[in-house]
């Protein structure tokens, strides 16, 4: 009998601990800033949240990774204040926000370059045109070997690697290359983890893959990046060509969407101000490319039009 009361005591203590009180507010703004969405944008959100949290200990910032689509669902349901997105909001998602009465402002926060990579042992391919990429990746394609892309290339099977269908990277690539978001040939190695794709291409002589530029930059020794010809000659992705927009069409802006209702709250306003002020400093440390100071200034102006005041 005795050990039972002892176990009950353990449970009771734990329960009291579990129901303990919450922090009280302080001088700096208090409250919650809930962010969710693209895992591509996550490193940027994490960097900003980390720094913001240091100077605003009473604001509780959380960053989720539900994916761009999942983030917009929660955003338009009013469950979060800020949505991270690796593509602009879709018409259907905008409709959902409208019918729920959620007004918002779109802010571009960084550039990301999609890199097309092959194995370093691949000596023949150095540049692909957008039309060639489309022939490789379109649904119902007849391209099976490298020779099907260009007659001078070897008759070896192209093995394809790309992000899974839930990612914004997949949406963006298929929209730019195949003309419609989400439309792709289905027979490629898909992974939500870009490091798996890096390993796949690095270990497969006749592979071709695509993923965010940061994953190429970190693994440049194991991969060979292809230049892309979007109509104005072959351009290789680099810090310069991504930031000046010449790496078209595979350089893309990354966005955050801020709810207007939430912007009226001081903690959300403080966070967004901090984001726009510190982005040019913080974004490069995450492997992405910062926008120009003018572009962040335009973001600040857009926010000031919604809710005047703030810093």
């Amino acid at each position: 009998m005795k050990r039972w009361t002892r176990m009950q005591a353990v449970f009771a203590t734990a329960l009291i601990a579990a129901c303990g009180g919450q922090d009280s507010g302080g001088m700096t703004p208090a409250g919650a800033v809930r962010i969710d969405g693209s895992s591509t944008v996550f490193p940027i959100a994490e960097a900003v949240a980390e720094e913001f949290q240091l100077s605003n200990p009473n604001v509780r910032v959380t960053v989720g990774v539900s994916g761009t689509g999942g983030g917009f669902k929660r955003f338009c349901a009013g469950e979060i204040e800020i949505a991270n997105a690796s593509r602009p909001i879709k018409e259907s998602e905008a409709d959902a926000c409208r019918s729920a009465g959620v007004a918002y402002t779109e802010l571009a926060v960084a550039w990301d370059g999609l890199s097309i990579v092959v194995n370093p042992a691949n000596s023949f391919a150095t540049c692909l045109t957008v039309a060639e990429l489309r022939r490789i990746w379109s649904p119902g394609t007849t391209v099976r070997t490298w020779r099907d892309v260009r007659p001078t290339w070897p008759a070896e099977e192209i093995r394809l690697y790309g992000p899974g269908t839930d990612s914004g990277t997949f949406d963006y690539f298929t929209e730019v290359i195949n003309g419609e978001s989400g439309v792709s040939r289905p027979d490629f190695q898909a992974s939500e983890d870009d490091n798996i794709l890096v390993q796949g291409v690095a270990g497969d002589t006749y592979a071709l893959g695509y993923f965010g530029y940061a994953y190429y930059a970190e693994n440049a020794g194991r991969l060979k990046v292809l230049a892309i010809d979007g109509g104005a000659g072959c351009v290789e992705p680099s810090d310069t060509t991504i930031e000046d927009g010449s790496y078209a069409p595979l350089a893309r802006p990354l966005f955050v969407y801020v709810s207007h209702a939430a912007l009226a709250r001081p903690e959300v306003r403080a966070y967004v101000d901090y984001l726009l002020d510190s982005a040019s400093l913080l974004v490069p440390s995450t492997g992405y490319h910062a926008l120009s100071a003018e572009q962040y200034g335009q973001g600040r102006a857009a926010i000031a039009r919604v809710v005047p005041g703030g810093s």
Binding site: R3, A14, Q22, R34, P43, R60, V61, V63, G64, N195
Partner: protein, 295 residues
């Protein structure tokens, strides 16, 4: 005398030798099978300790996640996992044991009981993501518990309860009916029999089942992402209504980074997760031994 058996005192026959050889082969096969599990655990341990031990220090345990790998720590995820584990145990253990007692000691043997029994067995095999979707609809949105530790713990409780109920039933069934009959014979009521005889005897088995189920829960990610475990936060939960993250999610977040320097962090996170599991198991063994010696 069975055919082939050597008469007493005679030298063993060829049949007898073959019989013994078969026995040895069987014993060796079983030992080898047991070794497979230990060997893979050993390989995993050696691998993660080699990768992560250098990053495992007090700063790692007390620091929050950071974009700088050398500054990054696991505090929020560890706290979230412990909170979730304790709450899940508090919710699922009493409910499951009560359900098992009802089914074994009280429920009449009719089709309703059989239907419940079949459903519990089926629920134990449902993929965990389904519980996540249920948790999102029921706890997060239906009961408006938000994306909180409580929603996560309730969802995990649903996930582990079928397993705990079934192992508790097994343990209760293993209590000899002569014990119950003796207690009834002395005039004990049904409640006194259950509380004084059946539960103490079944407790070691119930605890073993509980700990196995909770060990599974602590490694879950998919249902918790559905009910709102987040990728980054720099505070620990202060109440059951606070947001949270968990160890497996933090480990995955590090593994999927482009920067090589985050990989040792993931390994160190795995060591922390294993340590948490082993601590839980040790705690259960202490409880079980205590229940046994007192039973």
């Amino acid at each position: 005398m069975r055919p082939g058996r050597a008469p007493l005192g005679a030298s063993p026959s060829a049949f007898d030798r073959a019989r013994r050889t078969k026995g040895r082969i069987f014993a060796f096969t079983c030992a080898a099978a047991a070794f497979v599990g230990v060997a893979s655990l050993g390989a995993l341990l050696v691998d993660v300790i080699a990768d992560g031990a250098s990053r495992l220090d007090l700063a790692f345990l007390t620091g929050f996640a950071s974009r700088f790998p050398e500054r990054s720590g696991i505090r929020a995820a560890l706290a979230g996992s412990v909170w979730l584990l304790v709450l899940t145990a508090l919710i699922s253990f009493p409910l499951s044991v009560a359900a098992a007692i009802h089914l074994e000691e009280y429920a009449p043997r009719n089709w309703v009981t059989r239907a419940i029994q079949t459903n519990i067995a089926n629920l134990a095999g449902v993929p965990s993501i389904v519980y996540g979707i249920l948790g999102l609809a029921l706890f997060v949105r239906g009961l408006r518990l938000e994306r909180s530790v409580l929603s996560g713990a309730l969802t995990l409780s649903l996930l582990v309860m079928p397993v705990i109920i079934m192992s508790a039933q097994e343990a209760i069934r293993a209590v000899p009916s002569t014990i119950r009959e003796a207690a009834y014979g002395l005039g004990a009521t049904r409640w006194q029999v259950v509380r004084g005889q059946v539960l103490p005897m079944a407790m070691p088995g119930i605890l073993t089942g509980t700990i196995l189920a909770l060990s599974r829960a602590v490694g879950e990610t998919a249902p918790l992402i559905m009910v709102g475990a987040v990728g980054f936060l720099a505070f620990t939960p202060q109440s059951v209504m606070d947001p949270f993250t968990v160890l497996p999610l933090q480990i995955y977040s590090w593994i999927s980074r482009p920067q090589e320097e985050f990989q040792p962090l993931a390994a160190a996170g795995i060591i922390v997760l294993l340590a948490l599991l082993l601590t839980m198991n040790a705690f259960a063994i202490v409880l079980r031994n205590r229940a046994r010696s007192g039973g």
